[in-house]
């Protein structure tokens, strides 16, 4: 792990410790439950690993990318405050999303739901230290926060997702990640850069949502969730072709080609914004996506071969009682 990632990991751990201490002052048992939930949603039980994972949207890194492009002396206290605020904001959104998605046992989430109010206030208080009530930043805050809430709610209600809905709703679920980005531009007196950086975050949100749509296709389908990838799959499948056959024949390549096209645009924007960290991050995401594409294409082709072998094998029974059944 690089030095900057180590520092970030330590800051994330400190925020989680602070959450435990804050809540523990009122209710130690509630604090234990909240910290247990935070660890449960984190790979290996490590909250920092969750935020720094390759598939995680770079909500904590984006302000640093903006800072790099400005060539100014960093205000370390401001950036620590952003991390504190953003981690709380993420837990607020995640807790609500988990309950809305309802895809597993949510007893713990329901029990700690009132803590969402605490997460929200800590998220917002982080900005109140730096921006007066009349500051222009709050207009962006209100617009982006509202868009994030509306998109999450509307996305959960969608029954089919064409490209227009994907653009307008699904990929806008990341709007809240633009808030610390806008705050960074305003804090350093560069409000003029807000539109370009928000466009970049929008594009990255679109790209990230599509990655999720492709890789989570099976789970989304089994839970009856509508996504752009599944909707397009239903539209593009041939007569008597299954969705899985479409993914193997064309869907996997179609999805990853689209990701590549969007990534090329993002990389051009990153050059214009002048952030080497962002360029390096995007290059890493592009390489990661190429690896996932190859993994899916090769693995699905092997599965198709297996289906072919089994399709020609003699069945000894129509259904299996004991032992390992695959049907």
């Amino acid at each position: 792990m690089s030095m900057s990632k180590c520092i970030l990991a330590a800051q994330i751990d400190a925020v989680v410790d602070r959450i435990g201490a804050d809540l523990g002052a009122s209710s130690p048992s509630l604090a234990n439950q909240v910290v247990r939930w935070i660890r449960r949603i984190s790979p290996g039980g490590e909250p920092s690993a969750h935020f720094l994972d390759a598939r995680m949207f770079p909500i904590l890194e984006l302000p640093d990318f903006v800072l790099e492009s400005l060539a100014v002396a960093p205000d370390e206290a401001f950036h620590r405050s952003l991390i504190f605020s953003t981690v709380h904001g993420y837990f607020y959104i995640r807790l609500i999303d988990d309950i809305v998605d309802g895809d597993r046992d949510l007893e713990l989430e329901r029990k700690i739901l009132p803590v969402a109010g605490y997460f929200l206030s800590e998220f917002q208080l982080g900005y109140q230290k730096y921006f007066s009530a009349e500051h222009e930043f709050w207009r962006a805050f209100r617009r982006l926060w509202t868009a994030s809430a509306a998109s999450s709610a509307e996305d959960a209600m969608q029954r089919s997702v064409g490209f227009a809905e994907f653009e307008r709703v699904s990929s806008r679920k990341f709007s809240a990640a633009s808030i610390p980005v806008a705050a960074t531009c305003h804090h350093y007196g560069r409000a003029d850069l807000v539109p370009a950086w928000l466009d970049l975050v929008d594009g990255l949100g679109r790209w990230s949502q599509m990655v999720d749509d492709i890789l989570d296709w099976h789970q989304d389908r089994s839970l009856g969730r509508a996504t752009y990838f599944l909707t397009e799959g239903e539209r593009q499948t041939r007569r008597e072709e299954s969705l899985e056959e479409w993914i193997l024949r064309e869907g996997c390549d179609w999805g990853f080609d689209l990701l590549n096209e969007w990534m090329d645009r993002l990389q051009k924007s990153a050059v214009q914004l002048g952030s080497p960290g962002l360029m390096e991050y995007l290059a890493g995401r592009k390489a990661w996506a190429a690896e996932q594409h190859s993994t899916l294409r090769n693995g699905l082709a092997e599965l198709a071969r297996l289906a072919g072998i089994l399709g020609h094998a003699m069945r000894t029974k129509s259904s299996c009682g004991a032992g390992t059944s695959i049907t």
Binding site: H218, S242, E244, G299, E302, A322, G323, I326
Partner: protein
């Protein structure tokens, strides 16, 4: 041939619900396929031995939301 041949979609669904099947298929294809209700002829066993099980396992790892955190 008894029953209907397994479809590609059914195979993916079944394998996601029982990922251990591939380990058994790799370790002991004859036993795995017999238990799954198929006749383990030498030709079938040979074909199964030539599959790249690691490539299949990688797909399920990539698509497993439990091992891959949400964005």
């Amino acid at each position: 041939m008894g029953g209907n041949p397994i479809t590609f979609g059914e195979l993916i669904n079944a394998c996601l619900n029982n990922p251990g099947f591939f380990q058994q298929m790799q370790d002991n294809p004859a036993q795995a396929i017999t238990q799954a209700g198929y006749e383990a002829t030498p030709m079938v066993i040979d074909s199964l031995k030539n599959l790249d099980y690691n490539a299949i396992r990688r797909v399920f790892r990539a698509c497993d939301p439990l091992s891959a955190p949400v964005c």
